[in-house]
């Protein structure tokens, strides 16, 4: 069975700047894939290439088995796309937009549309121009969900929204998660962590890792060691240790390839016998911050 999204050395260059650098990505059907990364990491560029909104400099991408460069017209009856900077026709009223869109999609579900209108509390008789940013995002999401898309692509959907609206959007999204593949880029790592099944980390156009959340949370651990003395840290530390800091006899770091036996052996090799060692799981936010700081230091 082909993947919902697959890229092969996908690259986008703007003159001398490489916005996306040979990205290999695979998103399996039914997964909720979160693409995370700092501002300018290339998340939006990646999504625009996937949606055929711009053309790649090199490489290849497939969406639902179709090359992304051939996505047009009917292909979009299976893809729901929401972006924070999409220009929705503001002259329309909410009801007219939904009525107008309804006829474009053979699988549009009027009952689901009504459910989403109620769930998102959309004011049908109001012009889109008069809606708040949060309300516009809810409308965009409602219009992207109402036709049971096989794939939902969301580009920074939670940016600048208040917590209540975020919660509503996530709820709406989660209710569809069983029938669709969701691909989402976001800074809101806390929210994403609650429902993403897979995560990819993009840094300066490069995909540093792409894996499921379970293995990611197993792979990253915060390690705290209490040594017998407060001697300085050795200069040669394993590459997999991130953000290594010491305070007196206490040393803390993030192990990015955690395996308890291997970690214990490495600690013994670097520090000799220690008084105590603790391994704590990390939140996605902490993992993201550790990776971001590592790249900043580099």
């Amino acid at each position: 069975m082909p993947s919902a999204i697959r890229t092969d050395k996908l690259t986008k260059r703007y003159r001398r700047i490489t916005a996306l650098d040979r990205v290999d990505l695979e998103v399996t059907y039914g997964s909720v894939y979160a693409l995370v990364g700092q501002n300018g990491a290339g998340k939006t560029t990646a999504i625009k290439l996937l949606m055929n909104l711009m053309s790649a400099s090199a490489g290849h991408a497939e969406i639902l088995g179709t090359p992304s460069t051939q996505l047009r017209g009917k292909s979009y009856t299976e893809i729901g796309y929401v972006s924070e900077n999409q220009e929705i026709p503001e002259w329309m009223k909410v009801e007219y937009l939904l009525n107008y869109l309804r006829e474009f999609y053979p699988t549009w579900d009027p009952a689901l549309e009504q459910t989403l209108i109620k769930q998102f509390e959309l004011p049908l008789d109001r012009k889109i121009k008069a809606l708040s940013r949060g309300m516009k995002m809810k409308l965009a999401l409602a219009s992207a969900l109402a036709f049971h898309p096989r794939l939902i692509i969301l580009d920074e959907p939670f940016g600048g929204l208040d917590p209540l609206v975020r919660e509503q959007l996530i709820e709406g999204l989660l209710e569809r998660a069983t029938e669709s593949t969701i691909f989402i880029s976001s800074h809101d790592l806390a929210e994403i962590e609650s429902f993403a099944s897979h995560v990819g980390y993009l840094e300066s156009g490069k995909l540093l890792f792409s894996e499921d959340m379970a293995s990611l949370s197993i792979r990253f651990r915060e390690v705290e060691i209490i040594r017998h003395s407060d001697s300085p840290l050795p200069t040669a530390l394993p590459d997999t240790w991130l953000q290594t800091k010491s305070s007196g006899a206490v040393v803390r770091f993030v192990d990015s390839r955690f395996d308890e036996q291997r970690a214990t052996a490495e600690i013994a090799r670097v520090f000799g016998p220690v008084r105590d060692t603790q391994f704590r799981p990390l939140t996605l936010r902490s993992i993201f911050l550790a990776m971001a700081r590592k790249s900043e230091e580099a």
């Binding site: 949606m51 009917k74 999409q86």
Partner: protein, 527 residues
């Protein structure tokens, strides 16, 4: 088809105020077209802004500009530029989107205009069926020249501001090219032509390219590729046209004939040595105007000879470096004509070099011979009168040496002869030279370019203007004469000019210095 109608209905819902305004402007245009004689009467009057407004001359350009505005708005409703567009990630089928936009143009611009055109033809009792083809041609011209170009421009830009910038830059480039083009500078232009095949090919490429660029941009939304391809195509057509355009191509269209076989006799009058100072080294004009007085005779009755171009050169090529080659010159030779003056321009610096040198000069003329057929008489009445060949006409109330006429879809070709000696309605005595009781003619030959013709009105208004022939006896006389005047009872002779042949004739060589032919430029002095 569903999608086309869906987008079309959405556009109507969005643009209904503009649609209403467009229809209102069209109604104003129709109302003005119903009273063509008002504007015709003001034709020879001032073309000031006041008359532009009062006579409603502004309506047609305003209507066209407003249509272009609507087309831009409708196309940019689903902008084809940028990566933030909402519709580009929706199940729009590009060709249905394009057809929806064209349907809008058809329904709210072409069809209403077509109805107005049919109504106007019917109102003025011109045959509708016979004029259907020209009407379709006008609609097609409007679509190709204005709408298609506008759709392309709108599909390559994001908003009106970008369009205004593009138009501004294009206007600057056009001005720069016009300034650079020496042929259009200085008032006299070189007779040049492009082979017909190249002309047709160029038109085909431009119109085909325009339609192709619009289609490609809708299909692929690759703005810079579309722009680059359009510029390349225009440059290619311009380069091909420039490469094949020459005086030789134009000259080949005129068959050389001996003087004995020419349909007229033109002889250079004796050139009198000039005593004036003809040193123009301090003049600023890049050209010096030469004039050659000639006598004309032998034009057969029922014929008009049109002078198209003149070439004056020395008898040997090495002495002719000052010559400008073939230059356009427009004069008519009628059977009653006796003398004319040929005009020619040469480069001022070249003139300065040899102005005193006695040269044996040769004059070549490129002429078109027209046969006048279907002659019939037309008595003028005090009211408006009709003629099958001329349309509906009346004497101008501002200038009684003119008629004002209306004809469906185009200006017809005509020759009108007027002999004041036989009409008996002279005007008041005046001291004006010329405009005497001489035979006068008004005429127009067929337009070679019938397409494109992006007019709005199905009625062409024109004003046959009678100009007297030039008799030797009238030259330099300032006697009391009477102005030519048309009046009720005047009998005009109408005929239709048919192009018989284009000829190249060479006059007898003559000796002269260029400064004997040069015209001293007018100078303004300030004290």
């Amino acid at each position: 088809m569903d999608q086309i109608l869906r987008i079309f209905k959405k556009d109507i819902r969005r643009h209904w105020p503009e649609i209403l305004l467009s229809l209102a402007l069209l109604a104003l245009f129709t109302n003005r077209a119903l009273h063509p004689w008002n504007s015709l009467d003001s034709y020879s009057f001032s073309r000031s802004f006041y008359f532009f407004v009062v006579t409603g001359e502004y309506i047609a350009p305003v209507l066209v500009i407003f249509w272009l505005f609507i087309v831009i708005r409708v196309v940019q409703g689903e902008s084809l530029v940028g990566d933030h567009q909402w519709w580009t990630t929706k199940p729009y089928v590009w060709w249905q989107l394009l057809l929806a936009k064209l349907l809008f143009v058809l329904v709210f611009i072409c069809v209403p205009l077509f109805h107005v055109q049919l109504f106007l033809l019917n109102y003025f009792k011109f045959p509708v069926l016979r004029n259907l083809l020209p009407l379709f041609s006008m609609q097609l011209s409007l679509l190709l020249i204005l709408i298609c170009f506008c759709v392309l421009l709108a599909s390559l830009t994001k908003n009106l501001v970008q369009i205004l910038l593009v138009v501004g830059v294009a206007a600057l480039v056009a001005i720069a090219v016009a300034m650079w083009n020496r042929g259009t500078y200085g008032g006299s232009s070189v007779m040049e032509a492009t082979p017909t095949l190249v002309d047709y090919l160029g038109d085909l490429l431009i119109y085909g390219g325009l339609a192709g660029a619009v289609t490609w941009q809708f299909a692929r939304r690759r703005r810079w590729i579309t722009i680059a391809a359009s510029i390349l195509l225009i440059s290619f057509v311009a380069a091909i046209s420039a490469a094949f355009t020459s005086s030789k191509v134009a000259e080949r269209r005129y068959t050389p004939v001996d003087r004995s076989a020419a349909p007229l006799i033109v002889s250079v009058k004796p050139i009198e040595p000039s005593n004036d100072n003809k040193d123009f080294s301090r003049e600023t004009s890049p050209e010096v105007q030469l004039t050659i007085p000639v006598t004309v005779s032998g034009v057969p009755a029922g014929t008009v000879i049109q002078l198209n171009a003149v070439k004056i050169h020395a008898d040997s090529p090495e002495k002719s470096k000052w010559s400008s080659g073939w230059l356009y010159e427009s004069q008519d030779f009628w059977p009653e004509d006796q003398e004319k003056t040929l005009a020619y321009s040469v480069d001022r610096k070249e003139y300065q070099k040899i102005r005193n040198t006695l040269l044996q000069l040769q004059v070549d003329l490129a002429i078109s011979e027209y046969q006048l057929v279907d002659a019939h008489t037309l008595p003028i009445v005090s009211q408006r009168f009709s003629d099958q060949a001329l349309g509906d006409c009346q004497i101008s109330s501002f200038d009684n040496s003119r008629l004002h006429c209306l004809y469906p879809t185009r200006i017809p070709e005509y020759v009108i002869r007027f002999d004041p000696q036989q009409s008996g309605c002279f005007g008041d005595a005046s001291k004006e030279r010329g405009q005497a009781d001489m035979v006068s003619y008004a005429w127009k030959s067929r337009d070679e370019m019938g397409f494109p013709n992006p007019e709005l009105s199905p009625l062409s208004d024109f004003d046959p203007w009678f100009q007297p022939v030039s008799l030797i006896s009238s030259r330099n006389e300032t006697t009391e004469r009477r102005n030519v005047r048309l009046c009720p009872g005047t009998v005009l002779t109408l005929s239709r000019p048919v192009l018989r042949r284009k000829l190249h004739i060479r006059l007898d060589p003559f000796n002269a210095r260029l400064e004997d032919l040069a015209v001293t430029p007018l100078r303004l002095s300030f004290r």
